[in-house]
Symmetry: C2
Subunit: 402 residues, 2 copies
DNA sequence: CTGTTAGCGCGTTCAG
DNA sequence: CTGAACGCGCTAACAG
């Protein structure tokens, strides 16, 4: 098209302002940096006027080039689709605002390649620090960050081989809280559903804590379920209560289907509705599954009491919970919650709507603290890597109570 | 990993590389810019090695400073909490990736002051363009953008007094689609619920289209509802069907409560469950409301047929829909959908879960197109401001069908 | 108090 | 093909 890519109006530079104000660039620079005390009120007024007249705005790029710091920090988010991330972001933004930082938000969209690319981009833009909610990968792609590289703080999960500050949920306590809640409410067949562990520490920790509580003192756990690449379930028990771990690889529809099928068998085996009134609730005609008395898994009936087990699902995070809820609804109809309880870490907006019990993470504070840590790091703090574990809050809803 | 990482994070500069490669900066620069044809293979190899050895990464800031373009564009999002925004973002990112742009995502979090601040920040960082999903404000804060300023393209809504490309949903068609769907399915008492119009064109357009369809040929609309500052409802009718507009100011709890109260009266007045089987569905004991035969509004019974009206809510977007759903569930229990149908523009993740009918926006494409427009603008295209209206897709779910 | 002089890291003539 | 020199917009000494 037009050969002149030049904008209609080239933005004014510091030189323009100096000329307009009839002075040198230095005074302008001083004015911009708030060194008012060293400027005569008269000059100051002229500068002010010139700036106003030219609609001048200092070029942060040039400024950063000279000064060596551009007040930019990178915020690498693994998955913005996860409400957790957006909430953390709010905290990050607030903190940045307070500290005069400008967050560059980068969204890896669950793609390792994106993560790598953005990280590289961030360093070429010479951000002063990075707060990263990493994908489950090796430290490889995070090379430029951390130790020898630019300051970094991890969010939600730590990365193997990378020493850096980390702030996130107290996974251990949260998983215990949830498990105990389910146990206390009489559920004795609990399935912990989680995405592939890979390198994601938070998933590992949550599952480990769950398993630990389930196995209790006299652990008689065993490995079970489908064999093969990472799928399948671990099983343990405590005081007659059964605990299983199910891996749900959301990225692979086929794997999801297989895992859900296993779950279905367990639910069907658990038999009838969980409550007394439940049967009256049939929004009939939808339910695809029969109230099967099929006892294939052998876990449906408590061998001691002879009563049918009460089954509950413990989702390791919101995406998993959503996947489960959608499936259960499709299979058991709108009234699926009468058949199986659902508890989830993370508190998505639809939780209240569907009455699902959750453990809400202190997302805002996580984001805020992360920036504070990073800021200290940027300012030169050299202490050893710190961990900040914040507690989750159990929000009991209809799904798991009565 | 041969050489020791330099002490104080001192990144290698082009000069370092030149020295290391035993050549001048120019050659390095050429290498970086892919002008391989003018470099002897031998020199090229040396440069490559030097870069590798020093882990050199060009400084985009300095580069941009010189070249005048830094490949940065701003993406100003009004509310990341709205899934719509995140989805649009995906499209934006994909397009940026394809075009070699780097999006700086700024989240105004519904605060006008934030919007202003970020816009200013973006210009000081000399972004080459901005794609903005503006808050409902006057063109004032968008001054630096558009006409005389940096290229901009609007998303979802246009801004009064600001001429720029715009890409978004075909609001008119979408609202018609939804309204007709409700009408066709026998709903004859339809409430269009929308956030305050303010300067948000999309809300205005949606409501206008709704009203137009409802008033049909023989329009006998009237203004009604609570008086006062922007609250209240407009009422119109078509072929015996009633159409109301309810403004829901989500930012003000008190206003929300008042508006919802008005809605409740209408729903109560509409009387019993909407379907034949509905009564059998009572997840009883929860429903706070009685199957009131109260006829206060006078609209509950069709004066012609004498039959109770079938009431439906048409939410102008997802946040509104969520607010409505939460309220309805709290008031009428888990089975609220038996009493009132809900249709929403936007297709949040919980829609499928709750069976709410929606009109899904082509969010990804909206984002993608926005960047394409912006890119053209950046490259100097000078055509008059364009509008790109993309169609929405009706997704019928249980809520509104049978 | 104020102007002058160097660069920051890089791209771009323009002569070798 | 290569390198020296200049300047982008701005800040930081260093003199007046």
């Amino acid at each position: 098209m037009s050969t002149t890519p030049l904008a209609t109006t080239r933005r004014a530079t510091i030189t323009d302002v100096a000329r307009e104000a009839g002075t040198g660039k230095t005074s302008i620079s001083r004015y911009l940096n708030g060194e008012m005390s060293v400027l005569s009120p008269e000059l100051r007024a002229r500068i002010e006027a010139a700036i106003e007249r030219l609609d001048y705005q200092p070029n942060q790029m040039a400024r950063g080039l000279k000064r060596g710091r551009n007040r930019l920090i990178g915020m690498l988010v693994a998955d913005l689709t996860n409400p957790y991330s957006v909430e953390v972001l709010q905290g990050v933004e607030a903190a940045c605002h307070a500290l005069g930082l400008m967050p560059l938000i980068c969204h890896a969209a669950n793609e390792v390649e994106m993560e790598r690319r953005y990280l590289q981009l961030l360093t070429t833009y010479r951000v002063e620090g990075v707060i990263v909610n990493a994908l489950g990968v090796r430290e490889e792609t995070l090379r430029p960050v951390g130790d020898g590289g630019i300051p970094a703080v991890l969010v939600d999960r730590s990365v193997e081989g990378l020493v850096a500050d980390m702030v996130g949920l107290d996974n251990r306590a949260a998983a215990e809280l949830g498990t105990r809640h389910l146990l206390d409410n009489g559920f004795d067949d609990i399935w912990f559903v989680v995405q592939p562990f890979e390198q994601v520490s938070s998933r590992q920790l949550r599952e480990a804590a769950f398993r630990e509580v389930m196995s209790g003192a006299g652990a008689k756990g065993r490995e079970g379920g489908l064999g093969g690449k990472g799928e399948g379930s671990r099983t343990g028990s405590k005081g007659g209560a059964l605990g299983h771990t199910l891996v749900l690889n959301l990225a692979e529809p086929a794997a999801v289907e297989r895992a859900l099928a296993e779950l279905d068998r367990a639910i069907d085996a658990a038999g009838g509705p969980r409550g007394a009134v439940a049967n009256a609730t049939g929004n009939a005609g939808r339910s695809a599954a029969r109230s099967a008395t099929d006892n294939a898994t052998g876990n449906a009936i408590d061998s001691a009491t002879g009563k049918p087990r009460r089954i509950a699902l413990f989702a390791a995070n919101a995406p998993v919970a959503l996947c489960l809820a959608l499936h259960l609804k499709a299979r058991y109809g709108a009234d699926w919650q009468a058949r199986v309880a659902l508890l989830s870490i993370d508190d998505p907006e639809w939780a209240e709507l569907t009455g699902v019990t959750t453990i809400r993470q202190p997302t805002y504070e996580i984001g805020y603290r992360a920036v504070e840590f990073l800021h200290e790091r940027i300012e030169g703090v050299q202490t050893t890597a710190r961990d900040c574990l914040l507690p989750g809050e159990l929000i009991v809803r209809a799904s798991t109570s009565r």
